[in-house]
């Protein structure tokens, strides 16, 4: 017997490295697969060695600095092929990607990332997904950390979109589960003129749709803050930008003092928006066209520009207004909405609610007035906010997954029946008690272990009879008693409501159409009381009541049956005892009954295999039928089936019990 071959790591690695290089040159993974198969050793050992080899090749390529992005990509493709062939472990492509992205500058990372994006379907496939998703997540987060949100907005967006496509919606790491706010998003604005920053920064950012200025901007030398050359409304400026703080952290609104400030500033700002109507300037439309056709992309800036000199221009800009008004709507939705993570002190009082209502109307009106297409925009906003409600409730439920589980099919029936608990437990034993495992529970449960029957028992009948309820009213209706109107119990609204409910359940008069117009509930009740009085048994002292109204002869008693009749015996559930008796009688002929009970052939076979004893089989058949039918497993239906199967005698037994 030859000693077990020791796996030589270094040799194997060298072989793999060489074959990797040849694979890269020839653009095929065959050499690698051949090498893999030739080397003797354990699968796992070989795989890990190949992983190492691939990483080493990559490292050499990176260190060389001459390699192009395409070379890295071909190596990674090779590793993917390797995974599909089963020669390297599933995490290797991700490790390689991570290595590459860590070592390359951002512009090359861009190209690598395009590769990642294109292969999203590969990553989502079964063999890769579980192994790689954490690596991918970490890799993307590292990239995001390196990127600047305002400079590389598009790249950041691509990464986010990729993550969104890769992970399911309910992936917890991507969700803001606690509904937290980005408290770091502070809007800075000038508190005094010396801090004015306009004129110091190179003015690259342009606002879309800049309207014709109303003021003149003095020529400013870049680098020195120029003296202000247009009148600036600091009052409005400060109040306006202070509002952004409330949008950043809405929880402040629940405090009284902050709320008052918010209220005041909002009212002023919205009054300004209201009086300062925007024109649908044709000139600005042309400018927009020019901006777009000049090859400029739609400019996006992450934060508001808050220089006071821009205030006038910003107020004349429709997009800016839309931003602010939309912020209001989002804030209001949060304040009014049910969010699981709001603390219990975050409740709005009535005044606040009514202010929010009014202001919401005003905001929508202002939105509609903003050209162009104000109406369309406002309806769209409304619809979007409505759909937000759905997402909100989804979050409140803890973000359940959207993947529906396949409905369970018939298969599990076999184990349940095999596992049928001893009859004692289910109340089928001789005691007919259900043991709950605890004495007290057992006692309680067995008071009546059929819930439906318990609910229908006489003791739970809480609805009073017409006589009892209206006794007092009838007495009062008797003119001989001379009860004054205000003391009549029919004028009590509480009584009236209950009276109506009772009448609808018990009295056929309720459904009789009459020609009389009743001006109020009290009048209606009085007339009903009088009608009832006439019908009730004559031992009440009010039989002498003069009514003066025409009698509606009614055969209405037959219209309404008492609703608490006990169910006829035939509609009762089949009891265990009955089932035992029927089974005993059926014996070996249970199969005939089985077809009447709509048992499938498969089920019949199962019953046969389950038990040798025919009585038992019959019993099992009935149990199975009862399980399937549930509440429909009535004596009636069993009798019908028995009769149809040709067992009238057994049916009779059931009839007798």
């Amino acid at each position: 017997m030859s000693p077990p071959v020791i796996f030589n790591f270094n040799d194997a690695k060298d072989t793999f490295t060489a074959s990797t290089r040849s694979a890269l040159e020839n653009k095929t993974s065959k050499p690698l697969i051949n090498a893999f198969n030739q080397i003797t050793g354990n699968e796992t050992e070989k795989k890990t060695t190949l992983d190492q080899a691939l990483r080493q090749v990559l490292e050499e390529q990176i260190v060389e600095k001459k390699a192009l992005v395409d070379d890295f990509l071909s190596l990674i493709y090779l590793s993917i092929d390797g995974v599909t062939e089963g020669i390297c472990s599933a995490t290797t492509p991700f490790l390689l990607l991570g290595d590459v992205l860590d070592c390359l500058p951002l512009d090359q990372c861009d190209k690598i990332f395009s590769f990642v994006e294109e292969n999203v379907s590969t990553w989502k496939s079964n063999s890769f997904y579980t192994a790689g998703k954490n690596y991918l997540l970490r890799m993307c987060n590292d990239l995001l950390r390196r990127l600047s949100k305002s400079q590389n907005t598009v790249f950041c967006g691509r990464i986010q979109l990729f993550l969104a496509r890769l992970f399911p919606l309910s992936e917890k790491s991507g969700l803001n589960l606690q509904s937290q706010f980005n408290l770091d998003n502070i809007t800075v604005f000038n508190k005094n003129e010396q801090e004015s920053t306009l004129g110091q920064r190179p003015t690259e950012e342009k606002e879309d749709g800049m309207e014709v200025e109303e003021g003149e901007m003095g020529d400013e030398e870049p680098g020195t803050p120029a003296p202000c050359s247009i009148p600036i409304d600091y009052n409005l400026y400060r109040k306006f930008w202070t509002l952004q703080d409330y949008f950043r952290n809405p929880v402040q609104c629940y405090e009284k003092f902050s709320w008052m400030t918010f209220l005041k500033y909002s009212d002023e700002t919205l009054a300004v928006f209201k009086s300062f109507k925007l024109d649908d300037m044709q000139a600005s439309k042309r400018k927009l066209e020019e901006l777009r056709t000049a090859g400029g992309e739609h400019v996006y800036f992450a934060k508001f520009l808050t220089s006071e000199k821009l205030m006038d221009l910003q107020l004349s800009d429709s997009n800016f207004r839309r931003h602010i008004l939309l912020q209001y709507l989002i804030l209001f939705q949060y304040l009014k909405g049910q969010v699981k993570f709001k603390s219990s002190s975050c409740v709005l009082n009535d005044d606040q609610c009514s202010w929010i209502e009014e202001t919401t109307k005003l905001v929508y009106q202002l939105l509609r007035e903003i050209p162009p297409d104000g109406d369309k925009f406002a309806t769209m906003v409304e619809r979007v906010l409505n759909t937000e409600e759905n997402w909100n409730s989804w979050k409140n439920e803890g973000c359940p997954s959207f993947v529906k589980d396949r409905p369970v099919d018939d298969k599990p029936k076999r184990p349940t029946r095999k596992r049928q608990a001893p009859e004692d437990f289910l109340g089928k034993g001789p005691d007919r008690k259900v043991f709950m495992g605890n004495d007290e529970l057992t006692r309680l449960w067995n008071l009546n272990h059929d819930n439906m029957a318990a609910c229908q028992s006489e003791k739970r009948e809480f609805m009073p009879s017409l006589e009892e309820f209206f006794e007092e009213a009838i007495e009062q209706a008797d003119p001989a008693n001379m009860v004054e109107d205000e003391y009549k119990v029919v004028h009590n609204s509480n009584y009236g409501w209950r009276a109506l409910r009772l009448l609808s359940r018990r009295s056929p008069h309720f459904f009789q159409p009459t020609n009389q117009q009743f001006k109020s509930l009290d009048d209606y009740l009085e007339s009903m009381v009088i009608k009832l009085a006439k019908e009730l048994p004559k031992d009440l002292p009010s039989e002498e009541i003069k009514t003066g109204e025409e009698d509606d002869e009614d055969n209405g008693d037959t219209l309404l049956k008492e609703s608490n009749d006990s169910p006829s015996m035939q509609a009762k559930q089949v009891t265990n005892q009955q089932m035992d008796e029927v089974a005993a009688k059926l014996g070996a002929q249970w199969k005939t009954l089985a077809s009447q009970l709509d048992m499938k052939a498969a089920e019949i076979r199962e019953i046969e295999t389950d038990s040798e004893d025919v009585d038992m089989q019959a019993k099992l058949l009935l149990v199975c039928w009862q399980e399937r039918e549930g509440t429909q497993a009535t004596v009636d239906s069993l009798i019908t089936a028995l009769n149809n199967a040709g067992f009238p005698k057994i049916a009779d037994i059931l009839n007798e019990t």
Binding site: P227, S229, I232, D233, F276, K277
Partner: protein, 324 residues
């Protein structure tokens, strides 16, 4: 000045200082208040900055008209004109430099002076008032050079066309007269109420305000609608559908701003439509002034039947109010 007086105060006239940093306003109690615009517009303005830096009684009766020359503030009320230098006023020295009175025919009744305007080519002051005549005073000498007669009822408003050296005056008699400065004769007389488009007979025929822009003239009455007239052809080109009486109007860029009855400032386009009506504090406005003397304090101020004067830094909304 107690709260009751404040309640009944009306601002009738305004004028900006030549440097543009101060505003003088005259009210119906005969007082003139001087406000510092630069401090009211500064970033660290407080409520105190919106109060006048100086208030003094200028006349016995209401101050109907205020005017600024390069160095002086002229105010007119009950029949007399007083002048102060701005420099002294800023130093809170309220001593008038001179006070003069035109020669009125009868010395029994002293007619009020409703309007004043300066004719820069001749350096003269034109005054119109209750005695149905225009008086022209030479600013250097202080002598009343001439009297222009022609109106049959008192004069409400005056304006000067510099290029043609003409004076326009509108009065209670519904007539707008165009006078030639040198000859002193009434060159044209437009009786606005006779034009059907403009006339609102239910309001009478009097002309309350008048302003020119060389070729164009905007006038409005108590009587006729606010309308834009072409002066060469002497015909109305646009008529603005503003209700009520407009008491002051001015041309600004390509718009006409006008104030009058109604709690708003109307922005009208030359074509005849009312572009916007910006709400403001006083319920009814008497005076409107644009500060063109300074770029950083270039604001619009309006005053009327309230002790507050609204300041508009951006013409489209009210920024804040100065208060007497």
């Amino acid at each position: 000045m107690g709260p009751v007086e404040h309640l009944h105060m009306s601002v009738f006239s305004q004028s900006f200082s030549p440097c543009g940093r101060f505003l003088a306003a005259g009210n119906n109690y005969g007082e003139i208040a001087v406000f510092s615009l630069s401090s009211a517009l500064s970033p660290d303005a407080t409520d105190m900055s919106r109060k006048p830096i100086l208030t003094f009684t200028a006349h016995e009766g209401p101050v109907f008209s205020l005017l600024s020359t390069d160095s002086h503030l002229l105010s007119a009320g009950n029949g007399e004109i007083s002048a102060w230098t701005w420099a002294e006023l800023i130093k809170r020295n309220t001593k008038a430099v001179w006070t003069r009175r035109p020669n009125y025919k009868s010395s029994l009744e002293i007619p009020e002076i409703n309007a004043m305007t300066i004719n820069p080519t001749e350096n003269s002051l034109v005054i119109g008032g209750g005695d149905n005549n225009l008086h022209i005073m030479d600013l250097e000498s202080g002598v009343f050079k001439s009297v222009l007669q022609g109106h049959t009822d008192y004069i409400h408003c005056l304006s000067v066309r510099e290029r043609e050296s003409e004076i326009l005056s509108g009065g209670e008699d519904g007539a707008v007269r165009i006078w030639d400065c040198r000859t002193g004769q009434s060159v044209h007389c437009i009786e606005v109420y006779k034009y059907e488009d403009c006339a609102r007979p239910q309001y009478g025929k009097w002309i309350s305000c008048l302003t020119t822009d060389s070729d164009w003239m905007v006038l409005c009455g108590g009587g006729p609608y606010l309308s834009l007239w072409h002066l060469r052809s002497l015909s109305p080109t646009s008529i603005f559908p503003l209700s009520g009486c407009q008491r002051q109007a001015t041309f600004y860029q390509d718009m006409i701003l006008s104030v009058g009855e109604g709690q708003f400032v109307s922005h009208c386009l030359l074509g005849g439509e009312v572009k916007a009506q910006i709400p403001c504090t006083p319920h009814s406005l008497n005076t409107l002034a644009l500060n063109l003397n300074s770029t950083e304090n270039r604001v619009l101020t309006v005053g009327g039947s309230s002790h507050q004067i609204d300041v508009f830094a951006n013409l489209s909304y009210r920024s804040f109010s100065l208060a007497f």
